[in-house]
């Protein structure tokens, strides 16, 4: 080549770079350590994993053969203790594929289409999500997990290593979230659209449970309740689906169930407890007889509603929608025998 590169050499500012670099390392480390200590003081902990498509993918890849799979929204996610389940069954923990704010219907179809899946699929039904949509808040996770690139696969593992060390890694502690939540006055005519706060902790195997702060801090608990009501009270959500839509949903579920049963598996449905104004809103918008009872009656599948079993009723749901970590263990110990007996009897 003819051209010379001498003219294209990048200039480097004449500064004491080694000293500057050491100062940067020390200052950045000090700032990060201070940040970490602050968030630990607030109550954040290490080994609490952010639910990402990559984390979901780690569990989705384990679904094969006759493994039991749990799909649903946050109630199935927080209210089931995987170890308690394993102790009462074959010793293997079920695989947790539930996603907060997300309908399990799309995932059930995906599992039904996967010829390697031949185990029990337990579906958590949160009526306001389940009957409204096949997707929901994190509805793109399965597609993103299926398209995971080698780079994302490795990135997830490295990210999880960081999460083992640092408590400040969380959706709620991101700089963007903090800025977004600064309490500034509302513009005229706008209503506050509060994002859901941290309501759970998650282990690497996606064992999740209700955030302990909700139990310990009454103001935080009330904030979480208020946010649930922002979304569920006063007809702020989309309209409840009509009978035709429910029929279509049931038809779709029946097809998915048939495919899984054809391979030797089975599907069961569970309605988890809720209480307070949340339950009142669910009863108003999704009356049991028009939704759950139709599903239980028209689908040839096990369907367990907590209200029908004394051992599943009477639990306290601190923020009206989920059980505490301790109660999730007790609830699981009560649920599994009922579920197994029902499957056996079917």
């Amino acid at each position: 080549m003819h051209s010379s590169i001498s003219s294209s050499e990048r200039p480097v500012p004449a500064r004491p770079w080694p000293a500057i670099f050491v100062a940067v390392l020390v200052a950045a480390a000090a700032l990060t350590a201070g940040w970490e200590l602050y968030w630990r003081g607030v109550g954040f902990v290490d080994h609490d994993y952010v639910d990402t498509p990559g984390l979901w993918a780690t569990q989705r890849r384990r679904v094969t053969g006759d493994r039991t799979v749990l799909i649903g929204s946050s109630r199935m996610y927080f209210d089931v203790n995987l170890r308690a389940w394993a102790e009462l069954t074959d010793g293997r923990r079920p695989i947790q594929l539930s996603l907060v704010g997300t309908s399990p219907r799309g995932i059930l179809t995906e599992l039904a289409n996967d010829s390697t899946v031949s185990g029990l699929v337990v579906v958590g039904v949160t009526p306001g999500i389940f009957f409204r949509t096949r997707r929901g808040y994190l509805g793109d996770f399965p597609q993103r997990a299926a398209r995971e690139s080698p780079s994302e696969w490795l990135g997830q593992r490295l990210f999880m290593r960081m999460e083992r060390l640092f408590a400040f890694i969380d959706w709620d502690t991101q700089l963007g979230t903090i800025l977004e939540r600064q309490p500034l006055p509302l513009r005229e005519g706008m209503t506050l659209n509060r994002a859901v706060r941290k309501v759970s902790r998650t282990r690497a195997d996606r064992q999740a449970w209700l955030e302990p702060r909700i139990l310990a801090d009454s103001a935080y608990r009330q904030l979480v309740r208020d946010i649930w009501m922002d979304r569920n009270d006063g007809g702020r959500g989309p309209p409840s689906p009509g009978p035709d839509s429910v029929s279509a949903t049931i038809g779709e579920l029946a097809r998915d169930i048939a495919r899984i049963r054809a391979r030797g598996g089975d599907v069961a449905f569970v309605r988890f407890p809720s209480s307070g104004r949340f339950l009142a809103a669910e009863r108003r918008d999704f009356p049991r007889e028009r939704y759950w009872d139709r599903l239980a009656r028209e689908l040839d599948a096990v369907a367990i509603h907590y209200d029908d079993y004394p051992t599943l009723s009477g639990y306290e749901t601190p923020e009206w929608s989920h059980l505490s970590r301790e109660d999730a263990v007790l609830f699981t110990r009560a649920l599994v025998p009922i579920l197994m007996d029902s499957l056996e009897a079917r």
Binding site: H2, A27, T173, L175, R187
Partner: protein
């Protein structure tokens, strides 16, 4: 692989370690080549094959073309290279667009044509490396350069990972010679390189993704008429987002290269302080604008074939430049607007050159702000998903859409206003200098404080792994 990912941190540490080991230069270059294929394949391994096709095609065509004396044969070989590169680009990037337009044309002719479903994934950065390899063939054809002497050097030029997927689009003469002799960064180059990487990631992760993207997404994702404040805020947010995102990538790429001992050219020079559109295009995506100038505008005749033809060449270049960004008519309109701006500016400059006002600071600032305002309008078409959305937003901006909806909270509006103000002031103050010169004048403790704050902000933001906007091009 994204620069703003932990995977890249590990990858880059490995590359640096390998590069520092006492291997022969040829082995080090081979390591860099393999690393570049790993970098690209980490998204979608089969797409590495496309890079190989481009590499092998242009290597042999250029060799053959250089030896060939017969003009017709040389033209044929150039066509082979251009057809090969544009064929790959066209198939993956424009196939669906062409089919859709063909279908629309058929419908106009009363023929109900239903094209087959097009579900081809776009390989990241395909527009960048195809343009880079085409520049090589064109340079050899135009006898501006000799072919590279080493296949390894040429393959590394095509694939060099820091700039492979989003530029800068490097010219053969600027990069291939750097592979000829052993290179290793000095400690100052290495540390300054890390500083540039930090700056680039700060621009991307903190400014573009955290401070600006939410407002831009909210406004451009809205379906109805918007309140004028929201509309303007969204467009300002996007103007800052696309600059911070793309300039952030370029700065990171330059820093990564410098850490390895290689120099890449600047891709941005404070474009929002441009006075006029010729100036803007000397400052925005410089490696693309100079590519279009040297391989499209000048070969078309540039300004050598009369006034009318100059305007036609200008508009053709900018329309194709718009299309380069994406397979959509909105990008073509974006290019067309810039072409129109350039043409009008050319006309006005010819008529009113030598005005006494031109040199006054006040009028320079006013012209810079006018330029920014007109550039803002073009971003509406660039970002909008379709023409109805673009028109709706423009009407909202100018209060012609009636009582529009408010979709942004003060948090977002204040963030966008603050970033925009800081960005415009910084661009204006740096417009006639360089970052290096400015840093050289800055006390060391301020450099350390700003650098540490940027690193901390990147850590505190945690990143969500959003791809750089320009990857899609």
């Amino acid at each position: 692989m994204l620069f703003n990912s932990l995977t890249f941190v590990v990858f880059f540490a490995g590359v640096l370690a390998l590069h520092a080991l006492p291997f022969p230069w040829r082995v080090k270059k081979t390591n860099l080549l393999i690393a570049s294929y790993v970098f690209y394949g980490a998204w979608n391994p089969p797409f590495v094959i496309l890079v190989w096709i481009s590499t092998v095609l242009d290597w042999y065509v250029a060799k053959w073309m250089y030896r060939e004396e017969r003009p017709a044969r040389r033209r044929g070989l150039l066509l082979l290279s251009v057809a090969g590169n544009l064929g790959i680009l066209g198939y993956f990037k424009y196939g669906e667009f062409l089919l859709e337009n063909w279908q629309a044309a058929m419908q106009l002719a009363g023929i109900a044509y239903v094209p087959p479903e097009w579900s081809i994934v776009l390989p990241v950065g395909i527009s960048f490396y195809t343009f880079q390899t085409m520049a090589y063939s064109l340079d050899v054809y135009l006898r501006r350069e000799r072919p590279a002497e080493s296949f390894l050097d040429f393959a590394l030029f095509v694939t060099f990972f820091p700039q492979l997927v989003a530029g800068p689009i490097v010219r053969p003469a600027d990069l291939i010679p750097q592979f000829a002799a052993p290179r290793r960064a000095t400690s100052s180059q290495f540390l300054w390189g890390l500083g540039l990487v930090s700056l680039g990631l700060f621009q991307k992760v903190v400014v573009a993704d955290t401070l600006l993207a939410p407002s831009a997404d909210e406004v451009f994702g809205a379906t109805g008429a918007l309140h004028a404040l929201d509309a303007w805020t969204g467009v300002l947010a996007f103007s800052g987002q696309i600059f911070s995102d793309f300039a952030g990538y370029s700065t990171t790429a330059i820093g990564v290269s410098l850490c390895l001992g290689f120099s890449l050219t600047n891709n941005f020079r404070y474009p929002y302080a441009a006075i006029g559109f010729s100036d803007f295009w000397r400052r925005w995506h410089i490696s693309l604008s100079t590519w279009l100038r040297d391989y499209l505008y000048v070969p078309l005749g540039g300004n050598r074939k009369g006034r009318g033809r100059t305007y036609v060449n200008l508009m053709t270049t900018m329309l194709l430049g718009g299309l380069w960004h994406g397979a959509s008519w909105t990008f073509v309109v974006w290019g067309g607007l810039h072409g129109t701006y350039l043409a009008v500016e050319r006309y006005l400059t010819e008529r009113f050159s030598g005005s006494r006002l031109a040199g006054a600071t006040g009028s320079r600032i006013a012209l810079a702000l006018l330029t920014y305002l007109l550039v803002l309008l073009t971003w509406v078409f660039f970002r909008a998903r379709d023409f109805p959305s673009a028109w709706r937003l423009l009407r909202s901006m100018f209060g012609l859409a009636g009582e529009g909806r408010k979709v942004l909270y003060w948090n977002g509006i204040i963030a966008v206003a603050a970033v925009t103000a800081v960005m415009l002031v910084a661009h204006w103050r740096l417009r006639d200098t360089t970052l290096e010169a400015a840093v050289e004048r800055t006390p060391a403790w301020i450099i350390a404080a700003v650098w540490a704050a940027m690193v901390f902000a990147v850590i505190a933001t945690q990143g969500s792994g959003n791809a750089f906007i320009y990857f899609q091009f």
